[in-house]
């Protein structure tokens, strides 16, 4: 179940977007997050929507996965919408309930901002839905590579990420095992008052921590035995390859930016 929360996000399909270099996808998301703020009228939001929909269509990701990504944020989106409708007092009054007035500007602002939110979530989910966690790690390591000059431990962080990814299922299994063992000893994880349930986590966490430390120590020895001595002089087995599509995508993004700048109202 927890397994699904973390890995359930990546949907391994064969599509143009899936095959793209994680670096270009990461750059895309980064720039998209920036230029979303340029949009401020119907046309510009329309342009962004078309772009996002085109990406989704290319990725072949079924809509239900995207909706799942939106679900946890839905409340936040509706809440912002409501706040704006109730409290932004701009333009004409379009409805008067007596105790509260709804302004045209408030409604518009609310709709724009919640739409902006939706677009951001859609594009970022698209990244995690079409790129495996390990590719994202590789992409980040490469993109942040230049920061090594300023003593940023980029390689170490990437290694930490990939080892965490590798050990998540192992620790999951272990948690389940310990849970069963403790249930057999009479610990109740599923019922009773909240306070009792939180308390029952302690006999779960303690053995988990102890064994994780032991694992970490053994893993470190095994890594050293296999010649690991830091990032210096290391080559990479997993190679990233930048194709024409990737360049094309970034060009589209540039065009998008120009369009937004042209059509936004000042």
């Amino acid at each position: 179940m927890l397994d699904k929360m973390i890995f359930g996000r990546y949907v391994p399909l064969d599509s143009l977007v899936h095959r793209m270099d994680p670096r270009s996808k990461l750059l895309l998301v980064f720039f998209f997050v920036c230029i979303v703020f340029l949009a401020n009228n119907l046309i510009t939001y329309g342009i962004l929507a078309v772009f996002t929909l085109a990406l989704i269509a290319l990725s072949k990701i079924p809509a239900r996965f995207l909706f799942n990504g939106l679900k946890p944020i839905l409340f936040l989106i509706l809440f912002t919408l409501l706040l704006h409708i109730l409290f932004t007092k701009e333009g004409d009054v379009i409805y008067d309930f007596g105790f509260i007035e709804i302004y045209e500007g408030g409604l518009r602002q609310g709709l724009y901002i919640s739409f902006r939110f939706t677009l951001l979530i859609l594009v970022t989910s698209l990244l995690t839905l079409t790129t495996s966690p390990i590719s994202i790690t590789d992409g980040l390591e490469q993109l942040l590579g230049p920061l090594k000059k300023w003593k940023m431990p980029v390689h170490e962080l990437a290694l930490m990420m990939s080892i965490s990814l590798r050990f998540i299922p192992t620790l999951m299994e272990e948690t389940e095992k310990i849970m069963k063992a403790q249930t057999a000893r009479g610990v109740d994880f599923t019922s009773g008052p909240i306070k009792e349930r939180v308390k029952s986590i302690v006999p779960l966490l303690v053995p988990l921590f102890v064994s994780s430390f032991k694992r970490a120590e053994e893993l470190a020895i095994a890594m050293e035995a296999r010649g690991y001595r830091g990032g210096e002089g290391r080559t990479k087995y997993r190679q990233l390859s930048w194709h024409a599509v990737d360049t094309l995508l970034l060009c589209t993004l540039a065009v998008l930016t120009i369009l937004l700048l042209l059509f936004r109202s000042y």
Partner: protein
């Protein structure tokens, strides 16, 4: 006996804060192409010995020579290329997110070029018959398969010696047989010299030579035949003897006219059948 590959000279080592030497004045040689088993009770210093051989710990006194390189902090990275190690827990030595990534880990550390890496990963996985599982994630593999991947990870580095530190003790009988069979084949192809640390005396019985450790001291070394002659002494050291040796002895005490000793059940069965047909 072939050429000397490793030699230990009066090696002594003590863990910090411990009052007893974990390894005490141990000397022995390992010859090219042999299968050496190291046995001993828990805490007798077997794993420490393995770590010393791989430069994961350094001896306080005495010297270790591997392929004419004397092991020291300066030479440890070269020596480590010659000595591969497989540990007990299959999970805690699997570094990569997939089988091929894990095998490549050691190669990446050595800075091997990509093209070469792909070749060597493929070769190593072929040798342990795990080439069908290139993109498999570790939690979808059995313990025996994970250990075979670990062996492939070692093979990819093309070492001379492989040390198995109880590498089969967490596996079921089938996984154990898989792993030992793989290693035995590699050894027979003259690719490897094997040092196998084990509690399984049936396995040790198949080795070329056995070293018995006791409380950090080298207690005895010799061929399986010679070692299992010690019977009672071994039991005193907290070791068992293989079932076939025990049964053979019991039968002889009953007055059965059996040859000296039988290291494997097959040998014993064969002799008993012969005896039966003569009666």
């Amino acid at each position: 006996m072939g050429e000397k590959l490793v030699s230990l000279n009066d090696v002594t080592f003590k863990y910090e804060g411990q009052d007893r030497n974990a390894v005490d004045c141990v000397s022995f040689d390992v010859y090219k192409g042999e299968w050496l088993a190291i046995v001993g009770h828990n805490g007798s210093g077997k794993s420490t010995l393995a770590k010393l051989l791989n430069g994961l710990q350094f001896a306080e006194s005495g010297s270790i020579t591997i392929n004419d390189i004397e092991l020291s902090e300066a030479t440890v990275w070269d020596a480590r290329k010659k000595v591969g190690m497989v540990f007990q827990n299959p999970d805690n030595q699997f570094v990569g997110t997939t089988v091929q990534d894990d095998v490549a880990f050691g190669l990446e550390n050595l800075g091997v070029q990509h093209q070469m890496m792909v070749e060597r990963v493929q070769n190593a996985l072929n040798k342990v018959q795990m080439d069908q599982f290139l993109n498999q994630e570790p939690h979808h593999l059995s313990g025996g398969q994970k250990q075979r991947v670990a062996i492939a990870g070692v093979l990819a580095l093309q070492p001379d010696i492989i040390i198995l530190d109880e590498a089969t003790s967490m596996l079921d009988p089938r996984g154990r047989e898989e792993v030992l069979h793989t290693v035995r084949e590699l050894k027979d192809e003259n690719i490897l010299t094997v040092i196998s640390i084990t509690h399984d005396l049936e396995e040790a019985a198949k080795a070329d030579r056995i070293i018995v450790m006791n409380q950090g001291l080298l207690y005895r070394q010799g061929t399986p035949d010679e070692i299992f002659q010690l019977e009672g002494e071994l039991v005193e050291l907290g070791l068992d003897i293989p079932f076939s040796v025990k049964l053979g002895k019991a039968l002889r005490e009953q007055g059965l006219n059996l040859a000296d000793s039988h290291l494997t059940e097959e040998e014993l069965v064969k002799d008993l059948c012969e005896l039966n047909s003569r009666m």
